[in-house]
């Protein structure tokens, strides 16, 4: 079975701060990491491969430094890594990204299962996975927490709102993965990182994947970002402290004032 996992390098959002004057992100010193949902998708793909046999290819679209997330995938155990990197890809929105990934996956030949993180933590759009499935014309299962493959079908467990569901579709298919509560990302040991450097790694351009230049990057992106600014910061909280009885009395007063009691 051939499993392809799509990953993205993102700024570590837990470290991102905003310059309140300009409203721009202070990116200096913010480390780039793999999108956490994508790391789970890799690990789930590897678990599946080890169970049913086959290979795992990790692909990403990004600037040359995104090689790091492919290397991580290889160190975790993936068999092959591909970085889609080309000036022509720059400025892509979710539609254009889905198109570019789809062209690369089509070039890979027979692919049975595509796994993506549910969303990337920098943009939180959750649009590339379904967009990719749509472009590849294959069924999608979103928000999967675990996937299993038997007899040409993929079965996923997921929690949607107030329900636990088991959902099934035939292969080839795409699943977007969300981390289950007990997931702890693996930190590969140095020896595996070293070994990963010898694994097949390629960089593909727009030419390699035979993409229509009109559909790539900024040019192929129908959404235009007109303006970016800092989110309004709330006014400072009114702080209440004191003895427990005083505090509770004040809280009751507030709840009344705000019409909750």
């Amino acid at each position: 079975m051939h499993i392809v996992v799509c990953v993205k390098q993102v700024p570590d959002t837990t470290e991102v701060k905003v310059n309140p004057e300009t409203g721009t992100l202070i990116r200096e010193g913010v480390p780039s990491v793999i999108n956490p949902f994508d790391q789970f998708a890799i690990e789930e793909g590897l678990r599946l491969r080890d169970k049913v046999g086959g290979e795992v290819t990790v692909i990403s679209m990004g600037p040359p430094q995104a090689k790091a997330v492919i290397q991580l995938g290889l160190a975790l155990g993936a068999d092959r890594g591909i970085l889609l990197t080309d000036r022509a890809f720059a400025g892509a929105d979710t539609l254009s990204t889905a198109y570019t990934l789809a062209k690369a996956i089509q070039k890979l030949g027979k692919v049975d299962l595509v796994l993506c993180g549910m969303q990337a933590v920098d943009g939180d759009t959750a649009q590339v996975g379904p967009g990719l499935a749509s472009t590849l014309k294959i069924p999608q299962i979103t928000y999967a927490e675990t996937v299993d493959v038997t007899e040409g079908k993929v079965r996923a467990r997921r929690t949607i709102e107030d329900y636990n569901e088991v959902v099934e579709t035939r292969l080839p298919a795409l699943c977007t993965m969300t981390t289950p509560s007990n997931f702890v990302p693996t930190d590969p040991p140095f020896s595996k990182i070293q070994k990963a450097k010898k694994k097949p790694y390629e960089e593909w351009t727009a030419n390699t994947i035979g993409a229509d230049p009109e559909k790539l990057g900024l040019k192929g992106s129908p959404t235009w970002v007109k303006k970016v600014y800092a989110a309004q910061t709330k006014e400072k909280a009114i702080i209440i402290k004191g003895s427990a009885d005083e505090t509770v009395a004040k809280l009751v007063e507030i709840l009344k004032k705000e019409h909750f009691l």
Binding site: T22, A90, D122, G123, V128, S134, I160, I238, F260
Partner: protein, 394 residues
């Protein structure tokens, strides 16, 4: 391409901002290097508007695309989800401004009666596809039908609630039609005749205004509980357009084989609750969230929690607020024992009144709170529960 205009003074702000080191000041002018990623970060910081991402507004004729459509999400009990009513309320304003019709798209089985509800919230026309196969949501069936409706009737704008269902459906439609789609908007307005879509990014730290000038329909998903629901207009009527679609069995590729409810019957759901009392790891006492639950009960509030509580197996995921849980914005969010990880804050910071209780005066939860209580929740919550019981004569 990124263009540097003559007005550039070489101040260097862009050079400092560029995350890729792709812009350098040479001879008092910004010079774009080959590794520019077209992220637009520099455009935002330029004090002289000297940088521009050059793109052409195509002179396509879109005049035959008209009307603003709202997707109707039908709940399991057969009623319309509030998120749809919120979108109709907002959509009515936008459609009026554009001088176009507000329409609803309604798919399901035996859902015809809901057209009346949609009319009361402003829909002038409702497109209905009412067939037994559509009783439950199915990505392939729903997206294929809506793509067909869009192609036939050519709406100018299509907005869909950013619920799990809407976020599964919308990108499938937009990708097939190759049109722009903005995820998870918290603001919508009309600018120069186009839909201006405002959305948060980077965990809510920054906001972005987005437009899709060159494609139709303009599409967006909109976060539930953000737009205000208008008062329904009693007696309002709408035109009903019924469409019949033949659904091939092979089209229903994804099947739900098992489904179990995670919440108890009668338990308040946090999605549409007016009041939520929520607890984090710090409120987990001997493996339960008892203090939070007791307070919620006397207040008539729903129980929310942070991811840590779900990880500990104390509450099912349906109660989880935050990035990998639900986004809520109740009138009251009273939270105790949550320090305020950004992943939690993005799920609740748009609540009207946030009251946070925490021992640590520096807890980040206080940054989004209206009222911050510094104290021990184990001491405060039981007393508060008792005090409210007295107030309510319970």
């Amino acid at each position: 391409m990124l263009k540097v205009k003559d007005s550039c003074t070489g101040c260097g702000k862009c050079e400092k901002t560029c995350p890729f080191g792709a812009i350098k000041v040479e001879n008092k002018k910004a010079v774009v290097q080959d590794n520019c990623n077209l992220c637009g970060g520099c455009v935002q910081v330029c004090p002289f508007d000297s940088l521009e991402l050059e793109r052409k507004v195509e002179k396509k004729d879109f005049t035959n695309y008209t009307g603003l459509w709202v997707f109707t999400e039908v709940k399991e009990d057969g009623t319309v989800r509030n998120a749809t009513l919120e979108l109709l309320s907002k959509g009515k304003e936008l459609a009026t401004e554009l001088g176009q019709d507000l329409c609803a798209v309604l798919l399901g089985s035996n859902v015809g009666e809901l057209a009346g509800v949609l009319a009361r919230y402003g829909a002038k026309r409702v497109y209905i596809v009412d067939q037994p196969e559509l009783k439950e949501y199915n990505t392939d069936a729903y997206s294929t039908i809506i793509i067909g409706l869009i192609t036939k009737h050519k709406p100018n704008i299509v907005i869909i609630p950013a619920t799990p269902l809407g976020r599964d459906l919308a990108p499938r439609i937009a990708s097939t039609l190759e049109v722009g789609l903005t995820a998870d908007c918290t603001g919508l307005s009309i600018k120069d005749g186009l839909l201006l879509q405002t959305r948060p990014a980077f965990g809510g730290n920054i906001m972005a205004d987005i437009m899709s000038p060159n494609t139709r329909p303009q599409m967006a998903t909109v976060r539930p509980n953000v737009m205000k629901m208008a008062e329904p207009v009693e007696g309002a009527r709408c035109e009903v357009v019924r469409e019949k679609v033949s659904i091939e069995r092979g089209l229903l590729r994804v099947k739900v084989v098992e489904r179990t409810r995670t919440s108890m019957p009668g338990e308040k759901n946090i999605d549409e609750a007016d009041m939520i009392v929520s607890g984090g790891r710090g409120a987990c006492d001997e493996g339960n969230l008892r203090l939070i639950e007791e307070l919620a009960k006397v207040m008539g509030a729903a129980v929310g929690c942070s991811r840590a509580v779900v990880d500990l197996g104390i509450k099912p995921k349906s109660h989880q607020v935050g990035q990998s849980g639900k986004t809520v914005s109740p009138k009251l969010y009273l939270v105790a024992g949550v320090s305020g990880a950004i992943q939690h804050l993005v799920g609740m910071k748009s609540s009207d009144v946030i009251i946070a209780i925490n021992k640590d005066p520096d807890a980040t939860i206080f940054q989004v709170a209206k009222y911050g209580v510094i104290g021990d929740l184990y001491e405060l919550l039981p007393k508060l529960t008792e005090a409210i019981k007295r107030e309510r004569g319970l």
